[in-house]
Symmetry: C2
């Protein structure tokens, strides 16, 4: 063979697509002996079986569901041809604080190593969104990705975070700094777990449904309005419908908007979230993510109204619905002064963090009407400050005054 003269530069282009698919199921009593769902989901993966499965359970869920570990163990053991427990279920602390513990990521990976979980085995997480994010991250980086089954136990995780493609933990005081985009193998929503929630957790997840209705679907907003009292009164049928429709819209957005791994700067599902993330930090996580999102939605809706984008009538409808479901519109940390010269309010750190996490141009979703979001690339600090003051007033005065 004769070699050609090597030119100064040569280039190759690599292009390929990767197909992802997963199923999201809604059921009652997932681990009851006669519920075939989990067995069918795992059993249809095309391999011979039995597959190893490692369960990781949220301590908070376990405390409210005595016997859960035994129920999981019995369920798996009655289907020995389908799967086998790699080890007794592992219990991890629940709540957002667990995402601040990098050692938990190490410990979960150590378990995946010790119990010889391979890429055709399963790591199943039973818990709230924080535990799913934590376990999902550990599973995503072990062997470059173990099959991960999510079993969300809260409203928030069942209708929003648990059905998506993201995982992560907090690092350097930045929410979700460390994580990946890794679609789960399957999501199994068991409505029975919702009965064990206290009122705050029951309510908290509703804010994400309000959020998605506001930016995408006025009919869904009307549904939530019509069912606000039923939701507040913990009627299961209303909540099941809310979760199903919210999860469906969430999935449609991820799969249908052309950017499931968020390579661009647009993140419409983060409506209301720039302030919410910071409020969680400012309150030392004493308010729930969903409660913070409710305030964030109220803030950005008020801002939309003040900026002349949204009518007063629709703005008032939004605030009334948030209150009707039982959320606060304001906490004192919303008005906390900032420490940086360009941040008169502490929540403005959230805008800076957002710009950095997404990268590129700041892109924030606001509202032009109920059911229709619109993106902007800057926010006015004066208007934000006015919106904060209006929410403070609305929180501490009676409903008619919101109307004024």
């Amino acid at each position: 063979l004769i070699l050609n003269d090597t030119p100064f530069m040569r280039s190759l282009n690599q292009e390929f697509t990767v197909q992802f698919s997963y199923s999201v199921h809604f059921t009652n009593g997932l681990f009851k002996a006669d519920n075939p769902l989990l067995t069918e989901v795992v059993g249809s993966d095309g391999s011979k079986g039995p597959r190893k499965i490692l369960f990781v359970v949220d301590q908070i869920v376990l405390e409210k569901t005595p016997g859960l570990l035994e129920q999981i163990t019995a369920y798996v053991e009655q289907n020995p041809a389908v799967f086998t427990l790699a080890a007794p279920p592992i219990v991890v602390p629940g709540g957002e604080a667990c995402k601040n513990e990098m050692r938990l990521v190490d410990q979960l990976q150590e378990s995946i190593h010790r119990y010889h979980i391979d890429r055709h085995s399963y790591v199943a997480a039973v818990g709230g969104g924080a535990v799913l994010d934590l376990v999902g991250f550990a599973a995503a980086i072990a062997h470059r990705g173990i099959r991960h089954i999510r079993i969300p136990t809260t409203v928030l995780a069942q209708n929003d975070s648990g059905v998506g493609v993201k995982n992560g933990v907090n690092n350097f005081n930045k929410k979700n700094f460390t994580g990946t985009f890794s679609p789960p193998f399957a999501v199994l929503n068991d409505f029975e777990f919702l009965r064990t929630l206290n009122d705050r957790d029951w309510r908290a997840g509703i804010s994400e449904a309000i959020k998605v209705s506001l930016i995408k679907d006025a009919a869904f907003f009307r549904f939530i309005q019509d069912n606000a009292q039923k939701l507040r009164n913990r009627e299961m049928a209303a909540m099941e419908e809310l979760i199903y429709r919210c999860a469906e819209m969430h999935l449609q957005h991820i799969g249908g908007a052309g950017d499931p791994f968020e390579k661009g700067s647009s993140r419409p599902l983060d409506f209301g979230h720039w302030a919410a993330h910071t409020l969680e930090q400012l309150t030392d996580y004493s308010i729930r993510h969903g409660e913070a999102v409710a305030i964030g939605i109220a803030l950005d809706s008020t801002y939309s109204y003040l900026a002349g984008m949204l009518t007063k009538a629709e703005w008032q409808e939004i605030l009334e619905l948030i209150r009707a479901v039982g959320f606060d519109l304001y906490v004192p940390e919303l008005a906390q002064p900032g420490t940086e010269p360009d941040q008169p309010l502490a929540i403005l750190k959230g805008l800076a963090d957002f710009r950095e996490h997404l990268g590129g141009e700041l892109t924030i979703m606001l509202l032009e009407r109920i059911g229709r979001g619109v993106e902007v690339h800057e926010m006015d600090v004066e208007l934000i400050t006015r919106a904060v003051r209006m929410l403070e007033a609305a929180q501490y005065t009676s409903a008619p005054q919101i109307r004024n």
Copy 2:
């Protein structure tokens, strides 16, 4: 709205595809003032600029390339409209040992945090395959994926590991236990770096080219045979052609074989690697990855011959080429007794690790002729042991006896 009765189960299916693309370039003198490549690659990302870029440099490369940090800095600073250094280049230890240090992952993430590197900024790694794997992993999990530019400096990284989609670090004494599939933004191969390699590192990367030729392309095998002396004599033109063709085949395999993220059990590019990974561990990384791969190829070729799959003539050609390029066929650790009852040889741990890392059914590539691999799902321990003994004999006897 009237709610329907909630059925016992409802399901949603989520399906989407994600498109990935990146470019692989070959040049000389990447950081020379008049080389436009890096400026063009970053400048064509569609954003306004200047973009932040953080360089991470392999200590081993730096020692052999005095002035490299200054050259990088000058190059970036002469193009202020395109990019700006987020910080002075960071230097990390090189060589496989750096992948055993999880604290380096933490430190790199801390730098990404501290210098406010966002998802539209760049982390560029200059170094051997180990440093690229380490930095690539840190970049992949920060903000769920920072744009990563790989600048491989060794033959091995330029023709094989650096052009692929994998990153990772070692954990729990398992190679690449922790990592992700994350395509780079671009790969920039600068042949100038090859001049700084010692003979072992120059040679080591050739084994991956022999590997890919054996399983995919007899004509490429003939090219390597015809150029064996030139490669051994460090003639640049022969090496440049070898790297280009090997990288091209590697890319074609990843993009064209339908499984870029290795969801199945088939991994043809791991031909010869099950023994190689274990040999690296058994020798405490005193032999290079490429040297271990050369032995692994010799072992699996010999096994293929003993199993009746490969002709004696082709088997001999393979061993002769490996020797002609300058590789050993054997190190004493290849015959080291194992500690487990089912592992009479220590290298057999590599088969067990392989089975676990891939998951599912063990799938090993062997040869049916030069240029054509074939997959098997088990290997015979007796035949492996005989192959080891034959390599020992071949190593310590003259070439004609290999022929016998």
